[in-house]
Amino acid sequence: MTLDLLIQQLVNGLIVGSFYALIALGYSMVFGVIKLLNFAHGDIYMNGAFVGLIVFSFVGIWVGNGWLGVVCALLMSMLVVGLLGVVIERFAYRPMRNAPRLSILITALGASMVLNGTALALTGGRHYAFNTDLGFAGVDISTVHITYTQMVLVAASIALMAGMQAFVSRTMYGKAMRAVSIDMGASRLMGIDVDRVIALTFFMGSALAAGGGVMAGAYYGSVHFFMGFIMGLKAFTAAVIGGIGSVPGAMLGGLLLGLLEAFGSSLPFVGSEWRDVFVFGTLILFLVFKPTGLLGRSVVERV
């Protein structure tokens, strides 16, 4: 393993990590507000990629397969899939809000499998190509090659995350979100429409996941119904590394996970088949030694 290759790997890790961060952020937001592990998050990401692909193949006729097409696909997919997230919350999670934890977790799992199963039924399990004209042109910094696609995608995910952070910390709705995440009952007494805040959180979390999905589709050039399963696990791992419920934590966790993965697959004996084992091993180590993550506060157990 040469140093050049290692640096290239680390750069690729950072780029993949920015996707992970985006998706982990949605996970963290939803978890923060209703304390539920949204198993469907990974499948929402996958649906986002498919909706993006459909939009892309339609708008491509008018605006071409370049940047404009990808941006259209990204925005449309974020809107549509954001609404899908609201629908899922309304029909699958809201009726269960006072049910035992186990039932809600199984419901979330059911919602995930419904999305996954629908995608499988509609696509027949095939890989679909996401052909953009973005190409491999880019800049070379000494021996490291970074394509324009990579640069723009990282910039886009940073912009989305920064926007989200600003929303949560500056606006009234963001304040309401933080209030609900601390105490749902008290927030309701203060006149906050809790249902609406939760719906909004789901919209934003799902839109972020969809954005990540479209970007990943454009980046890897293909989408597949099973892509969400593993991504859901990784986004969760990223969220745990950073500290679940913490917005900056999700971003940090995503980047670190990307780096860990890139580094892990270049280690001898680890190889790319073992990459996921490496990721889950990291997850377990974190849960054992630092369950609050790097930036998380310790969560008081709900009694």
Binding site: M96, L105, I106, M113, T237, W274, V277, F280, G281, E301
Partner: protein, 320 residues
Amino acid sequence: MMTDEVRSMSATAQPRLIRWSVVLPGLAALACALVLPQFANAYVTEVATTALLYVVLCLGLNIVVGYAGLLDLGYAAFFAVGAYTSGILTAEFGFNFWLTIPVAMAAACVAGIIIGAPTLRLRSDYLAIVTLGFGEIVRIIARNLDITGGASGLIGIERPEIFGFRLMQVQHFYYAFLVLALLTAFVCLSVERSRMGRAWFYVRYDEDAAAGIGINRVTAKLQAYMMGAVIASVAGCLYAAKMTAISPESFTFNQSLLILLGVVLGGMGRIPGVVLGAVLVALLPEVLRGAGTYRPLVTAVALLAIMLFRPNGLWPDKRV
């Protein structure tokens, strides 16, 4: 809800009358199960064998999910541990099948401790996702090691022999699985009523209150988790012997999900309910044979609908 719970809990402590409304249908079902292969054709016997396999697996998962309230999404991993341990020992090292069962049980115990001991202290949803990851890890390991036969799997697993009689035909395995299912049900019934079983119920209802009355919740959860793991591994041994060939694809997340569906469908925490759920889950692929790629969707919709409309399952536990 809580008072009902307490009342029925104290009821179990009093001398129990035999409830004929449960025992008689149970005996009738057992009689039917015993004579079934004499009348049914090979196809029906095969499906019934699968149903019995799911009965064992669902009863095992029921200990973890139904009794102790721990959501395990990687249960198929322990099934795989049993199948691969037994398969490798018989096919590669020429072990006697029956000797591999205790080895597989020990292996499942070790795997259960490795994954359970650190994570069972945490919130239940962390456990769910960690077990999901663990299931994937086991599958990836099985896919990438030489000794497990890699992606194409392990072939040439020996048929077991008992008192000079070799289990060969589907009927033989049917009876073997029936014995295993009855044994498992018996074990479940005894632990349900034991001190340990009651500790699980309390941990499931209110962890902090359980800790308050002197139950060590981590130990209690770990016991449930390991007992579930051991049952799955024994089922795995017999499964490997029946199939004579196993591959990583038999132990995917979907398998774990199907077992969970069986538990939830029938009614978490209740043995007859879980048996019913397991049989329905085994029949599901046969009923949906024509559905093709729609099958996972139908399974998922079933799971979701049950949680939303009958959260306690089709045949619920009255104590809930």
